[in-house]
Amino acid sequence: MMNSTIANCTIHIFLALVMPPLLLGVIGKTKAAFAGRVGAPFLQPYHDILRLLRKGTVFSTTTSWVFRAGPIVALATTAVASLLIPFGAHSSPISFTGDMILYAYLFALGRFFTMLAALDTGSSFEGMGSAREATYSCLAEPTLFFALITLSRLSGSYSLSNMLVNISFGVWLNNGAALLLLVGGMFVVLLAENCRIPFDDPNTHLELTMIHEVMVLDHSGPAFAIIQYAAALKLFVLGAFFVHLALPYATGNPYLDWGLFIISMLELAVVIGIVESVMARLRLIRVPQLLVAATILAAFSTLLVIR
């Protein structure tokens, strides 16, 4: 038993360390496929990160220690968050009553520093980006909490591991409506939080309408590598959360479950890729409306389960 937990932890950490960039690769590949291109190899993101790590760094003269702190904190928060969220049917390494609140607020911390780092450059573009980031994430916050409430109600527990692992087809059969609404809401949050289309276009760099990418314009070299990795990890962590809701299949066998988890994460990546290739960016005015809509979905699901 003890060994199994240790094993699970190692696998968990290993996955968290290694897998995230792969998702980006898969997304890219999917989009290329839709565009009828061959596209970059799956492992391209790894190459990018490694190259960036080896590159030199340029610091803007206007920046201060806040600028340097940004990437570090972003990485640290996502890393800790990845330890709180269960992968597949296995409970997470760290799990205690109320850890979901910590989970939600860790992202806030990361965001806080990313925004400050962007603003530290004194560039009007990056200011623009962080202003948007602040507003949108603030709108996305309640959705996540509605989701947590629903799950905690369904599972009757107050820690991410239990409430997510608990989700199964049985639960779906009983509370299908609620979970469906939730999946809708959480998918929007997933896209918004990771700055994917239709909220943001991670590929462009010089458009007045970007959020995340524009905030990191002045980061370069290892710092940028850290940011890229942190972003991927964030996608992975939130994705894991989403996968629990959307694809809650589990066999009794731990190793099989790990496999299933990896597969479903890849499926998720593919789905995101499809969405990104079939949808266009929303006009900025529409973004808040979509986020609020997501909140409403989640709120309805909550009401369905607690009434």
């Binding site: 790590l53 030199g56 760094t57 340029v58 610091f59 803007s60 003269t61 206007t62 920046t63 201060s64 220690w65 806040v66 990437p71 570090i72 990485l75 640290a76 800790v80 760290i94 009553t97 109320g98 609140i101 939600a104 607020y105 806030a108 911390l109 806080f112 925004m115 400050l116 603003l119 530290d120 004194g122 560039s123 009007s124 990056e126 200011g127 962080s130 202003a131 948007r132 602040a134 507003t135 603030c138 916050e141 309640p142 959705t143 996540l144 909490f145 947590l148 409430i149 905690s152 109600r153 009757g156 107050y158 314009l217 002045d218 070299g221 290892p222 710092a223 909140t295 909550t302 607690i306």
Partner: protein, 665 residues
């Protein structure tokens, strides 16, 4: 007046003496000729008294004891008891700590050498304010309570109008004075009705009154108005933003960090009287609380005056605390000890936290004003270079007040969240859980507000010459800030300590909780929390070292920020405070209102134009002021009765006579 002592020198007496010393600290300065000595003396005396007072309060707090003195007075309002129970002792801590830090801060921020005319009064009333609050916490005679309450309010007023040459300050002062006096009128009703209930002006013992008794509702209502107005709960907050913004910063720190809490203390105290509070009370507190939290922080987002922003966020935090109290009260009404415990713990701990990080931020604001001479955030920027230490401490404060891990603000909100979530398993009041998303929204808005504050002040390039020539603050300014920052970190990393601090107060509020294992259970949970906090720091440190190592290996150059294609990007082109919050304001339009002055651009080459966005005080400007105008008009109409026509005055006399005759027969 002398004290009929029971027992010899004991912690209670020590607290009392400390309070009195703090009160008298400013007196010598009134008579000393040489500038500065009085101020320095006051600072030293206050700090020494604080050391004693805090130690004694701690001892009282952890020994769960209640000490009673009787103050010999001959006013016709019955005996005057001074009692220190854990609840009072708990509230003592912020009083002493903040006042001490402030008096030290004043040495650098309001040096007697530069402010000869105002410094004496400032120092004197500062001590008076602090000590009146400390003694207020012990007062158990309603009339004595009101006296101290008024001394507190008035000395706060005199502190606030220190710079009464400025119009804003005077206006803020009048609004504050009117608000607080109206609140006091409510307290007149409150204590009178209590006396009508108990037959004496001594405050009733815990759990001695029934909410079903006649007047109980009026008592509760008047308490809510009287104390709520002081605490700044919406919609009684009208005085708060301008008052906190216009007072000298260490005064703002004391007002916001401690004086608001006196209102909350009053509410706590009132709630202890009743053994059967109806659900309605808890509901009212919860709703008003969460409303003030949301609206307060929404207003904060829109502000452009640094200290106004902080003041609005005080409204928010008070709202959060009130929500906690309300939830706890609902727990009492529904006999749900977990809810009581978590609500109380959250509220009390947040009181403590807020009275640490809010003063920290206000003192920081003071340091900034001292350096730049303005409160307008749109004129700052780039101060992080000039004053890195202040920036660091300010950053800690901002993170803490946003309720973000791993700092103390998160801990108290965490407890509240737990309380909400636990309702999912409760058999009643399940819907309380819906407070969680609202609180989350508040948190998100707080992040906007404080990233706006920090970035527009410390980051980027200076937007005005004043900001360009900023200088690092002196020790007397940095030490108090650092002290608060350390406490914030400490409680953030070791939240169990915080829980340990509040549990005596909780039990004195709700004795049934004395024996439960809840404190143990949640202590353990907070232990896990602190572990993850430590882990976070560890990961960050490791990442930092790795990065340093990489930086060492690869070339590091520095260049100007990429100008987005503009050749000559000026500082004014940065995202300023207003532009940063513009999107949020537009999204939350309706809650936040702004007076926007847009210039008319005409012709092919319009000349220089000016655009301004001023956030409005919705309730004050839309409701109170119009009401006053209406009253003024109608009064002006009635004033025609005094028309100077003598023969009609005669008529008044005889008509009165006639009416009275009719009435008599």
């Amino acid at each position: 007046m002398f004290f009929a002592l029971q027992g010899i020198l004991d912690p209670g007496l020590m607290v009392l003496v400390a309070a009195i010393v703090v009160g008298c600290a400013g007196v010598p300065g009134l008579f000393l000729k040489k500038p500065g000595t009085g101020q320095a003396f006051a600072a030293v005396a206050t700090i020494l008294a604080t050391l004693a007072g805090v130690a004694a309060s701690m001892q009282l707090l952890f020994s769960y004891t209640t000490i009673t003195y009787v103050l010999e007075w001959n006013l016709p309002f019955g005996p005057c008891e001074l009692v220190i129970d854990p609840l009072s002792a708990f509230f003592m801590l912020p009083v002493f700590l903040v006042s001490a830090a402030g008096s030290l801060f004043a040495l650098g921020y309001w040096p007697s050498a530069e402010h000869r005319t105002t410094e004496r009064g400032l120092t004197f009333f500062y001590g008076l304010l602090a000590s009146s609050m400390a003694i207020l916490l012990m007062a158990r005679n309603g009339v004595f309570f009101i006296m101290l309450w008024e001394v507190m309010a008035l000395s706060a007023y005199f502190l606030l109008v220190t710079e009464h040459e400025s119009n804003d300050v005077r206006r803020a002062g009048i609004v504050y004075l009117i608000a607080t006096h109206t609140g006091t009128a409510a307290l007149f009703v409150y204590f009178s009705l209590l006396a009508a209930q108990t037959g004496s002006f001594l405050l009733p013992a815990a759990g001695s009154l029934s909410a079903l008794s006649p007047f109980a509702t009026i008592i509760a209502l008047s308490a809510f108005i009287g104390f709520g107005a002081k605490a700044g709960i919406m919609p009684l907050h009208i005085w708060l933003p301008s008052a906190h913004a216009n007072a000298p910063s260490h005064v703002s720190a004391l007002m916001s960090g401690v004086m608001l809490k006196m209102g909350l203390y009053g509410i706590f105290r009132t709630l202890t009287y009743f053994y059967d509070p109806p659900l309605l009370w808890g509901a009212v507190l919860t709703v008003t609380g969460i409303t003030s939290a949301l609206f307060g922080i929404a207003f904060a987002v829109a502000q452009r005056d640094m200290k106004r922003l902080l003041a609005c966020s005080s409204i928010e935090n008070i709202g959060i605390i009130t929500t906690g109290i309300g939830v706890a009260l609902l727990g009492v009404s529904s006999h749900n000890t977990t809810l009581v415990y978590l609500g109380m713990a959250g509220a009390l701990l947040h009181i403590l936290n807020h009275s640490f990080f809010k003063p920290l931020l206000f003192l920081g604001a003071g340091a900034i004003i001292h350096a730049t001479g303005t409160r307008e955030m749109n004129l700052m920027g780039g101060l992080g270079k000039g004053m890195p230490r202040v920036a660091l401490l300010f950053m800690i404060g901002s993170v803490a007040i946003c309720g973000i891990p791993p700092l103390n603000g998160f801990v108290s909100e965490f407890l509240l969240y737990l309380g909400f979530f636990k309702q999912l398993k409760a058999d009643s009041l399940v819907y309380l859980v819906l407070l969680a998303p609202l609180l989350a929204l508040v948190g998100g808005l707080a992040v906007i507000a404080f990233s706006k504050l920090f970035s527009s002040v410390f980051l980027g390039t200076p937007r005005s010459p004043a900001a360009a020539h900023s200088h690092e603050a002196g020790l007397t300014i940095l030490v108090p800030m650092a002290f608060f920052a350390l406490i914030c970190l400490l409680i953030g990393i070791a939240p169990q300590l915080g829980l340990h601090l509040v549990s005596p107060a909780i039990t004195s509020f709700y004795p049934k909780l004395a024996s439960t294992e809840l404190s143990v259970e949640y202590g353990a949970i907070l232990g896990r929390l602190s572990l993850s906090g430590a882990l976070l720091l560890a990961v960050a440190v490791v990442a930092m070292f790795l990065w340093r190592w990489r930086l060492g290996k690869s070339p590091v150059t520095s260049a100007p920020t990429w100008g987005c294609g503009y050749k000559r990007g000026t500082a004014r082109m940065q995202y300023g405070a207003s532009s940063f919050s513009e999107l949020a304001v537009s999204v939350f339009n309706g809650i936040i209102r702004q007076r926007i002055g847009r210039p008319k651009l005409t012709g092919l080459f319009p000349g220089a134009a000016h655009c301004s966005e001023v956030p409005t005080e919705t309730i004050l400007e839309r409701i109170i002021v119009p009401l006053f105008t209406i009253a003024g008009v109608s009064f002006a109409f009635l004033r025609r009765l005094q028309h100077g026509q003598m023969h009609l005055y005669m008529l008044y006399v005889f008509v009165t006579l006639f009416i009275l005759m009719l009435w008599a027969h």
